[in-house]
């Protein structure tokens, strides 16, 4: 009987045990954000309801990701296979400590952005889809961090890319269109390079499952073609991460959208590239990483130094921040270049820190611009007198970004420098410190001009410049707008300080994540071993 034959055969091709209820947390981030995006889209015209839906959804996303992280730290790597096909067939979602932690931080930043957006997005930009795009951006970002299939990773990259296009051109003014053309074309070329590399990889090893690739690559008799694939991945993700010679799309576009958008871009999009680099270069193709380590190190140094110098040479606050994003990417690349468990712990910690702090710096800039009506460094000044609290937030974030204690940046830099010295890369360690020094100067310069001096250029020493209170300053909805912004900023600054004062828990998570990247046996075991349901 053909029918009974087929029925008996199912366990050879499919996972028969049901998924444990808590393991559904692997896919809930995607479901939550898509549904939230749909609801926001349906209430497109009710611009007052949208922020509430978005904040509730992203709050739920934070809780879900928190639960997922707790589950991963308790049980180890979790796998869920779509359609219950036995791996390596079917698309697997495989979550380890790195992915879960980054997904959690990303959702926190998205939550802060939704809060900030209450004041920053006007009715028009909400009608054109600020909140729906933000939700779908988070679908892409969550998918990227959680998936265990390299082609699926490409699909999530495209989801977040198309959402970012939508966010970037929300106001469709001239500068935004100009920036979006460069951002759009160069990022599309980068993801196409990623697809080319994936096509070659599939042709060579015949699998796309990230747990299957390391084994299949190690079994290949000839290494040479895989080196080409590794180089292509490096180029594609370096472009996404804005590493030095291929990063000119970032300073061309990041200062054009509204601040809430720029903040979430600066926090998340480049780090997605860093995450993908860690996955491919360290976990999937470790042998070929050794060949490219020198290239990565040189790129890292060039990125961090050129970013810091670029930030110093800007006269527009937002453009200076764009270069600071690049500088921070360099430090993370340094950790990937060294590629020991310690340096990757540093990279993961730095990514977490940088996601929080970069978004925070953009928010401070946005509020400074709102209070003074300009982003030009020549026309800014006297903000300390205007809002001491904002100056305090800036100082904390600036110290954190430069890597000074007692903030999150300090520990990340300590780990990176320590790892570089232990692995005999003294010049890399030196460059991290020099770049830290240069970013300190760049940020101190901004602090001096925008916050500390009495007023804009031309204000005599010793006098305080009185800003004209804009007429709508005390209107109730403006006060409400500022409330959301302060809450968002407080959340980010508070987290950076908290990580700086009590880093132990986070370092433990980052260490677990880095160990999983260097030795993926748990990752592979989770997909092919037991946790998927099959003994």
């Amino acid at each position: 009987m053909a029918v009974s034959d087929h029925a008996a055969d199912v366990s050879h091709a499919m996972i028969t045990t049901p998924v444990a209820p808590a393991d559904w947390l692997v896919v809930t981030p995607i479901i939550i954000t898509i549904l939230g995006g749909v609801f926001c889209l349906m209430t497109r015209k009710q611009t007052k309801i949208q922020p509430r839906i978005a904040i509730a959804t992203l709050g739920l996303l934070m809780l879900s990701n928190f639960g997922l992280l707790a589950r991963v730290m308790e049980k180890g790597v979790i796998t869920m296979v779509m359609g219950q096909w036995l791996p390596p067939y079917g698309i697997a979602f495989t979550v380890d400590a790195t992915g879960a932690m980054l997904a959690l931080i990303a959702s926190i930043v998205a939550f802060a952005t939704a809060l900030y957006g209450v004041g920053d997005s006007d009715a028009a930009s909400r009608r054109y889809g600020f909140y729906p795009f933000l939700m779908l951006l988070m679908t892409g970002v969550s998918g990227t961090f959680l998936t265990g299939d390299i082609f699926n990773l490409y699909v999530w990259f495209e989801v977040l890319l198309i959402s970012s296009f939508g966010l970037l051109i929300l106001g469709s003014d001239k500068a935004q269109l100009d920036g979006a053309v460069k951002y759009g074309i160069l990022n599309l070329i980068a993801t196409t390079l990623f697809l080319i590399a994936t096509g070659y990889l599939y042709g060579l090893v015949g699998t796309l499952n990230m747990a299957d690739i390391p084994r299949s690559v190690a079994a290949l008799p000839d290494r040479a073609p895989i080196t080409t694939v590794a180089m292509l991945y490096l180029l594609a993700f370096a472009m996404k991460a804005a590493a030095f010679p291929v990063n000119f799309w970032l300073p061309a576009s990041y200062h054009t959208p509204r601040i809430a958008v720029a903040g979430v871009f600066a926090g998340l999009l480049t780090k997605v590239g860093i995450y993908a680099l860690m996955r491919t270069m360290v976990m999937l193709l470790p042998i070929h990483h050794a060949l490219l380590a020198d290239v990565l190190a040189v790129v890292a140094v060039a990125t961090m130094i050129s970013g810091a110098l670029g930030a110093m040479a800007q006269s527009d606050l937002r453009r200076a921040l764009g270069y600071l994003v690049i500088s921070s990417i360099g430090s993370m690349l340094a950790g990937i270049a060294v590629s020991t468990a310690l340096s990757l712990t540093g990279t993961i910690l730095y990514a977490i820190h940088s996601i929080l702090v970069m978004t925070g710096l953009y928010f401070v800039t946005g509020m400074a611009g709102r209070m003074s009506g300009t982003f030009a460094l020549r026309q800014l000044g006297g903000l300390y007198g205007k809002s001491p609290l904002l100056a305090l937030a800036f100082i904390i974030l600036a110290m954190s970004f430069s890597g000074l204690p007692p903030t999150s940046g300090f520990w990340a830099k300590v780990l990176l420098v320590d790892a570089s010295l232990k692995s005999d890369w003294p010049w890399l360690a030196g460059s991290i410190l020099v770049a830290g020094f240069l970013t300190t100067i760049a940020l101190a310069r901004i602090g001096l001009y925008a916050f500390w001096r009495g007023g804009p250029e031309g204000t005599p020493d010793g006098t305080a410049f009185a800003y004209a209170e804009s007429a709508d300053m005390n209107a109730p909805d403006v006060t409400a707008a500022y409330t959301g912004m302060w809450l968002a900023l407080g959340l980010l600054v508070g987290l950076s300080l908290f990580i700086g004062l009590a880093p132990d828990g986070l370092v433990a998570i980052a260490r677990a994540g880095a160990a999983g990247l260097v030795d993926p046996s748990n990752y592979i075991g989770s997909v092919f071993g037991g946790a998927g349901g099959q003994p």
């Binding site: 053909a2 198309i162 469709s172 100009d178 196409t192 060579l204």
Partner: protein, 125 residues
């Protein structure tokens, strides 16, 4: 057969890169469009070419009999086609809007976001 396809794909890549190196926005976009088609063909070829045997399992068997065409690259390409088509549509509209607003399709003249000859940053305090 793969070798012939490899050469063909090489030519298509060369054409797309040549177009993308141009300064005119519309040529860059044509290059991007050709690039995505070249990639589709690349994935198809990388999945090995097998003629005219659909991957269908006969009723009496549990696994395919003999070599069949590989269905996975086709699934990948289908996904990639949909994605690249939607991106191309978006970029086309974006380029048209940029041309309307900025009055140029020359990448060298699109300097609104990063204007030439800006005031230098403040040097003294």
């Amino acid at each position: 057969m793969e070798a012939g396809f490899a050469v063909l794909i090489g030519f298509i890549f060369a054409a797309s890169i040549y177009l993308m190196l141009s300064r005119q926005l519309i040529r860059i976009l044509l290059g991007v469009s050709i690039l995505s088609n070249a990639v589709n063909l690349l994935i198809f070829t990388a999945g090995r070419l097998e003629r005219e045997v659909p991957p269908v399992i006969p009723d009496s068997a549990l696994v395919p009999v003999g070599a069949t065409a590989n269905p996975l690259p086709q699934a990948l390409i289908l996904t990639a086609i949909v994605i690249s088509f939607s991106f191309f549509a978006f970029l086309l509209v974006l380029a048209f809007r940029a041309y309307q607003e900025l009055g140029t399709d020359d990448a060298n003249e699109m300097r609104v976001a990063e204007p030439k000859g800006e005031a230098r940053p403040p040097m003294g305090y």
